[in-house]
């Protein structure tokens, strides 16, 4: 692809894409600014990387339109845009190819149940299992060794990586990506305590529903509802090793980082941002655009949209940061009390 072609491609997303340099140079791959070489494209979005303007061996660098690139065009070209980071993401997309999972069409070793309906162009990898009455949408890829139990619906153009397990009844939207090893729809953790100290299992009769454009990381677990559905909204992004318990409802475009744990029946709004290893007590509710810091422990509902939470138990960021600042002064507080007591003792009536 030539620099001019990249310029034209970016012009689909940006009002203005200014070229400085030679548009006919061929670009073969994207790369990091510090390691990019001849024929590669990189970007600078952060001032502290501006020193690479004159050092990088990249043939093309995408920069903010305010950057003065004069004096750096010897052997390099530049594209100037309002948002070089996003522009580079689009360049990455242009150069990336869909991942191939050792399968074209439906491998001869796939175990397909009765009454399965597959759309056009579905690819299913070696040894995958597709249970009775499943419906797989056109253009969807299912990796080798995925196990799709019975009565599962998967929409168009999804990518289900190897070793994913979808329990019976799971409903998955369009363009959903599920990475290797994730388990969708296992039983929720529900047991009724008995007088003798043992437990009776509460049957988990519901399902999991995952909205369009969601992405689930590797080895994550999303449990089926006791009744009804555990819901992962449209566009939700769930990272590796995240636990979403039964009956949760995760709002659209919410992002949940690795190893976070969402207890049962939590309702989370749209566009929330949940940090890694954060934990949530059951049955609570978070408003839209709530953000939760990594490792925070959220123990109650927060119903004000846009609240930033942090700490254990989690509280609004400003309160928590003030609290943490005070904590840092704890040693000096103790010394000041010592000193006050010393002085008090010296006073005639201070005893």
């Amino acid at each position: 692809m030539t620099i001019q072609e990249i310029q034209a491609y970016l012009a689909e997303f940006f009002d203005s894409v200014e070229l400085v340099g030679n548009g006919e140079v061929k670009i073969s791959a994207p790369a990091k600014i510090e390691s990019a070489g001849k024929g590669e494209v990189s970007f600078i979005a952060n001032e502290k990387y501006l020193r690479f303007l004159g050092e990088t061996k990249a043939s093309l660098v995408i920069v903010h339109r305010s950057v003065n690139v004069e004096g750096f065009v010897e052997g390099r070209s530049f594209l100037k845009v309002t948002d070089p980071y996003t522009a580079f993401v689009f360049v990455l997309k242009k150069f990336s190819r869909p991942r191939i999972m050792a399968a074209q069409g439906i491998a001869s070793t796939v175990a397909i149940g009765e009454g399965v309906v597959m759309g056009e162009g579905v690819a299913v990898g070696e040894y995958a299992v597709v249970g009775d009455r499943c419906r797989i949408g056109a253009g969807t890829q299912i990796g080798p060794h995925a196990v799709i139990m019975h009565d599962v619906v998967i929409g168009e153009e999804c990518t289900i990586f190897p070793h994913v397990v979808c329990y019976d009844g799971t409903i998955i939207g369009r363009r959903v990506v599920i990475h290797a090893g994730s388990v969708i729809g296992a039983d929720g953790f529900g047991f009724a305590p008995q007088a003798d100290g043992s437990y009776v299992k509460i049957p988990q009769m519901g399902i999991v529903e995952i909205g369009d454009d969601a992405e689930i990381g590797a080895n994550a677990t999303i449990d089926r509802a006791t009744m009804g559905s555990t819901i992962i909204g449209k566009g939700v992004k769930v990272d590796n090793l995240v636990q979403v318990a039964h009956n949760c409802r995760i709002g659209e475009h919410t992002v949940i980082a690795a190893q976070a744990g969402i207890s049962g029946s939590v309702t989370m709004g749209r566009q929330c941002m949940i940090g890694g290893q954060a934990g949530f007590a059951g049955h609570l509710e978070l408003a839209d655009r709530t953000s939760v810091a990594a490792q925070a422990g959220v123990s109650k509902s927060f119903l004000e949209p846009g609240t930033a939470l942090r700490g254990y138990p989690a509280q609004p960021m400003r309160d928590q940061l003030r609290h943490e600042a005070t904590l840092r002064h704890l040693g000096s507080m103790k010394e000041r009390i010592d000193e006050l007591e010393r002085r008090m003792k010296k006073l005639p009536e201070g005893e």
Copy 2:
């Protein structure tokens, strides 16, 4: 099933099951009170749901025997019991069917080693692997793609979901459920540090033993002992993504919520309740009925039965809650010290 039949079924568990309404109405499914429809059964166990008495479209509602249902019987019937929640759990059990894992009998694609003994009615799904000398008890279901390595013993009526891996030598009791993706018996994390900074692996020669009626969630890991056995007691319930390290002994009917991590050689008593994401240092001991709050970090043994622990480092609930309450007053403590110093300065001998 008619309401009368449900009444008769519940009478197996409760001394008194009073019917108010029409016992001949047919019930087809259980449902949540807020979404239940005609022909469905639901329950009310919590006062705040009593408002649904007159709103729900459920044909049958199970309530506490103290609830006055007069005036609500138009189109509805009621069963009155001492514990409507548990009664509903039994109703769920009645309506639930064993999960089918795309296999009846032993699929032709199962790879079976030498000397394997299978009980009557064993079902093994597509592509599962059962290693040499395994013994699988009658009525046990093994899902597609499970890998049971050699010399594993699985008792009667177990359910092993797809993609479970049992390493060699694992011993599993009766009626055990293991959800998809869990790994039983991988090597414990044992490495002996060497003078040059590298490590020598300590061979993990023991096994894992899981007692009757235990249930293990999805993508959990239970490591084999270095020597002897890592023991999961009878009736223990382990949630998704939990880590149980080598040489642990988990007492009967203990419940461990998602993402908790139990370090090596921990001994836990019976009927403990461990919150999500809680962590445990190695080699410690917890008495029977210890409860540990979510995200707590337990750093030492607690030998008094029935202790509730919370916080980091975890301490008895009462101490910890008092500590957390004091923490909340930290800001005002600082202000009070400021004020004391201000006054002290004004005193003649306060300098």
Copy 3:
């Protein structure tokens, strides 16, 4: 094996291995000191186990050379060394056998892509999938159901357990062990926020590289880099359910305990020790030999080699322990302030 043979074997690792007792006794297995029986070998490395000197039924006990075993040799023999723990680890290694994964040679059900190169003695278990152009080094074992996507390189004498998934392009060194269910090279968690609240996926075009002698636990996840490589150094040990995000670089012989989570672009030095459930913010750097306590939350870089960190936010151990000690006095600080205020009020000008 006789005791004399064990003595000779240990003499390969220790300058002096003194035998007290009968060297011709046959030893069949290693065991724990409290449960060892006739014909078994155990060890005592800790003073509090010295009471077993006269109680154990082990035929051979390895002890420190300073231990006086006179009076205990009736029916027992002893080997005296400078480091009985390490000596016993070597004995374990001697008695342990390589794990067999239900496969000898390449099972007939293995799905092998085009252009695959396998070294001598490679064993691949039932139903494993090896993608196009993979290269598998001599002596490597790949378990049943492992999925090795295309263009993966695995070195000599590795052990890849069942259900491991290696995404395309992964590069693995020699003698690497990866336990069941781990996912190597899934997409990093990178999404560019858009003005409408949705996200555009950032293509993850890099790979994962794992150095020689590394060991990865069960159900761990190591994400591929956005560009370039996520690097797990030589000899690194990663426990179960650990998350290593995209673009991380983990230095040689670093050890990471279960459920720890390393955010994107973290650079960790050599010989670090990371406790269970510890978390790390993105883009930070840790010097060589940094140790991080379990459950700590590391929020910034620590560039001084050998620093021990603890707490949230993590700080050097001494500061954090002092802080925790002060925290424990918080209740008494409050009482002292109460008392000071009471006295102050009594003073004539104290109001």
